[in-house]
Structures are given as C-alpha cells and as structure tokens.
C-alpha cells in the first residue's frame, strides 16, 4: 500500500530532509530567515545561507545570538509583513519557549521547522519527540512529516495555512532529526514559480508600517486578555478545516495530499496502532509483515498534532483496542505519554470504551530495529485477541532493566 505516490514518471531529487526544507523555504520566496545553528537543524540554515549568498533567494539572513532572539526577530519581521522563517531543535526550542507563546498570542503568521531531537539531561543530540511534544500546548499549528517529501510539502502548506486571514497562527513543521534530516531520499521538487503561485504574498490588512502606525505586543489586562485568548483558541480550532482546504488545493496543484489522520489497513483490523513521524514507515513495514502472518493490525498516522484532528476519535472509536507508539515520555502524566493522553481524552469525549496500550520507543535516538516495531505490533495483536491484559503503564520498548 502506498503512503503517497512519490515516484511517478518524473525523476526525483535526492535530498536530505533538511535540504528538502531549505528548498521549500526558497520556493516560498521567504523574506527573512532568522536562526541560530543547532544539531541536527544546522544544515537547513546552512543551505539557506548558500541560497541567500548566491542570490537564488532574495532574503535577509539575520545572524542572531540565540534561539530566543531568532524567534523574536522572526516575529518582528512577520509583524512588519515579511514572510519569515526559522528552524531549531531540542534545547533551541526549549530556549524559545516563552517566545513560542508570544508568536501564537500575537497571531504571527510564520513557519518554523523543528528537527526533532531529545532534550537534555543527559546531553543527547539524537532523535526523539520530547521537544515536539513539550511544545504542543504553545498555540502553534503542528504538522508532523513522515518523510522528506512531506517535509518539503508541509513547509509550503504551512505558509498558506499560516497566512490565511481566518487562521493567522504560526506553523511548526516537524521532521525527525537524522532519521529524516540526514537521510537522503527521493523528493519531488516543484517549480518555484508554481509554488509561489500557490502561496502568493498578499498584503496583510494590519502590519507594522510607519505610514499607518499600529501597536503590536500590547498589554492585555484582566479586562481584555481573556477575549484575545478565546479568539486564539477559536482560530486554532478553525485551522483544522483551513488545513483541509489548503491541503485539497495543494493536491490540485501538485497531486499530493495528506490527511490530518490517516488509517492504513483499517477495514478488517482487530486493532489500530497510532504512530507519527519518521518511523511511521518502519511500523508500516512491521504491520505488513505481521499481516502476512495473519495478524490483522492497522496503522493510524497522525500528521496534524495541533489542532488535534477530531476524526482521530471518530475513526478509533470503532476499534476495541488501540496501540499508541510515542517517541517521548510525558513525565508524571496520567498515561505517561503525550499522544495517549490526547487520544484517550478524545475517545472518552466521544463516549468510546476502546482500551489503549502505550508503547514508548526510540528514546534518545535508541535505534528502532524492525524486530522492535514487530514486537509492538505482535504485542498489540495478542491484546486484541485477549491473550494478554491491557497494561496500565506504558510498555517501554527495548529498555534495559
């Protein structure tokens, strides 16, 4: 089963995930790039610096002293009407933390690439989703790519979505550190002219403009703050429908489309394993192997993490058993997993009684072997056949005790 039809007739570019992002930023004709280097994000901004130096991209490249400044400068640029971009990973995102809320609260349209990486301590430069998950409540739209083509496409979709007047929120596009960022795979690059036609620059009604002064970043005292926050919450909710519209327009332009939540092999399955990010493909492989052994397990792929897609509960409530594979630990929370918390809440609100098993995997870059993915799929199958109890705590795949 094809996740997306990448290789059709046309020859594709061999690109790392980071370079795919840089090409997308170039093709969107971004005006201001403001970033601070951090592993594994660095090659995105290196490539963009090359584009700016060679004149391939007419943009201001701001060299800032920290990620806090990188995002702050991007906000300023975007408030003045420019199309702004930044990228970061892990500790960089953590240092941006307070500014993340400011970007979404000020309703700043922009795109940030998050090359996911584990958070310290202990120091770890490898991949997991602890940075992505810990930023899910900052008011940003979060799109999570599963391959480098999606990383390219989501940047383009991201600008269109972010700049819609009914949305006006920043978009974070996640790609997995190393597993995508440093992996070469085929990517369909689009004609920059066509991309720019898809994401035309429009003059926004209100920007920082000396000719027509306005104030951004104002005080919201108890008499006013609440209303702005409700506006923001409603806009993030609207972003779901807006995404579907943008995505369908994207598919008319470029022939590829991505559902916020996609189920593969759902029809005859006894249970669904929900995943997101780069190892979606590894789990798909494992699901296909298990199905050949007669284990009817399906795969649910989350590509939109915020706003959390309403169809997740609608689809999943049809199954008695759900598995959730999360590459981050949500310390001390009800389920121990960010994804499980969301899925369980949405199922409960739907009135469903599906039982959830959480699988934590790939923490701190622990390699995910095919047998790890198979272990998860087989374990979930045994649960669905009632050969095993639903564990109350997450199953930590591959940890040593």
């Amino acid at each position: 089963m094809s996740m997306n039809k990448v290789l059709e007739k046309k020859l594709l570019e061999p690109l790392s995930g980071n370079h795919a992002v840089a090409y997308a930023v170039r093709d969107c004709d971004v005006d201001v790039i403001s970033a601070y280097p951090i592993t594994p994000q660095t090659t995105i901004v290196e490539k963009l610096a090359e584009f700016v130096a060679s004149g391939e991209l007419d943009a201001e490249f701001l060299h800032v002293e920290s990620e806090h400044s990188a995002l702050s400068a991007a906000i300023g640029a975007a408030a003045s009407g420019a199309r702004a971009f930044t990228a970061t990973s892990s500790q960089g995102l953590a240092l941006m933390y307070e500014v993340l809320f400011i970007a979404s609260g000020m309703r700043i349209p922009m795109v940030m690439a998050l090359v996911t990486r584990a958070l310290s301590a202990p120091i770890n430069i490898w991949n997991d989703h602890s940075d992505l998950m810990a930023s899910q409540d900052t008011g940003w739209i979060q799109l999570v790519s599963t391959n480098n083509q999606e990383a390219y496409d989501f940047i383009i979709i991201g600008y269109k979505l972010s700049e819609r007047e009914d949305v006006m929120l920043p978009v974070m596009v996640a790609l997995d550190g190393y597993i995508q960022s440093h992996t070469i795979e085929p990517v369909q690059l689009e004609d920059p002219e066509k991309v720019r036609k898809f994401v035309p620059k429009k003059k926004r009604p209100v920007t920082l403009d000396p000719e027509k002064p306005v104030s951004f970043g104002t005080l919201g005292d108890p008499d006013w703050y609440y209303e702005f926050k409700i506006q923001q919450a409603e806009a993030l909710e609207r972003a779901y429908q807006a995404y579907k519209e943008v995505s369908s327009e994207f598919s008319q332009y470029f022939g590829r489309s991505y559902e916020p939540f996609q189920i593969l092999y759902g029809e005859d399955s006894d249970a669904i394993l929900v995943v997101l990010g780069a190892h979606t493909g590894t789990f798909l492989k494992a699901v296909e192997m298990a199905r050949r052994e007669g284990m009817k397990i399906g795969l649910g792929v989350i590509r939109m993490l915020r706003p959390f897609p309403p169809e997740v509960s609608k689809y999943l409530s049809q199954y008695s058993f759900i598995g959730v594979a999360d590459k981050a630990i949500n310390f001390g929370s009800a389920s121990g997993s960010y994804l499980t918390n969301d899925i369980a809440t949405s199922l409960y609100l739907e009135g469903a009684s599906s039982r959830i098993t959480t699988y934590i995997y790939g923490i701190g870059g622990r390699p995910v072997k095919i047998e790890d993915a198979l272990y998860v799929v087989r374990h979930l199958w045994r649960i669905s056949k009632r050969l095993e109890e639903v564990p109350k705590k997450p199953v930590f795949v591959g940890v040593r005790y």
Partner: protein, 105 residues
C-alpha cells in the same frame, strides 16, 4: 455600553487605531503635581525629554525672565501627568517643585 468582545476585537491584541492611550487620562492618579517656576526655567528641555508620559508640553509661547528672552515655554499637561516627580528630580536649576494635590482643595 458593551465593551468589545471576542467577535469585535482585532486579533493578537494589536491596536489598530492608535493613540488609544489618549482616552486614558492618567492625571487622576496624581498625588503630587509638578509646578514649573517659569522665571527660574532656563528652557533646557531636560524635563521634556525625561517625562515618561510625554506630559511636558513645549509651547511656542515667548517669555521674558531676568532680562532673558525665550521663544518657548514648558508647561505640564495635567490630564496625563501621573506626578512621578522625575522632571523635578532632573531639573538642573530646581525650577520644578512637587506640590501635594490636597493643597489645591
């Protein structure tokens, strides 16, 4: 009158019709008020520059004092002056005095 709500306000707390602060007359916050001694004032502009509320006004109003002629006069805009006293503290010739508001009554 109903205050603007979720559906009325411009997003992101952006103020699109500045200067809205003019409607907020902060002069009522004042406990002590600055009074400028025009004879002593040397028109150095320091109070005007230091005032955090831009409540010192520079008027095109000639004034003669101690044989000197000035083309401008500084006055306090009591609608917005909060009485912080920075002008009095900064004045190099001590031409500004802070007087308790109660004396006015």
């Amino acid at each position: 009158m109903k205050k603007p709500g979720v559906k009325d306000l411009y997003i992101g707390a952006v103020i699109i019709n500045p200067p809205t602060s003019l409607t907020n007359k902060t002069g009522s916050w004042r406990v002590i008020r600055p009074v400028i001694d025009q004879d002593r004032c040397i028109r150095c502009r320091i109070c005007w520059a230091y005032c955090p509320d831009a409540a010192i006004l520079e008027l095109d109003q000639p004034y003669e004092a101690g044989g000197k002629k000035y083309s401008i006069t500084y006055v306090v805009n009591y609608d917005y002056c909060k009485g912080c006293g920075i002008c009095a503290a900064e004045c190099p010739v001590k031409a500004i005095k802070m007087i308790p508001e109660v004396e006015k009554l």
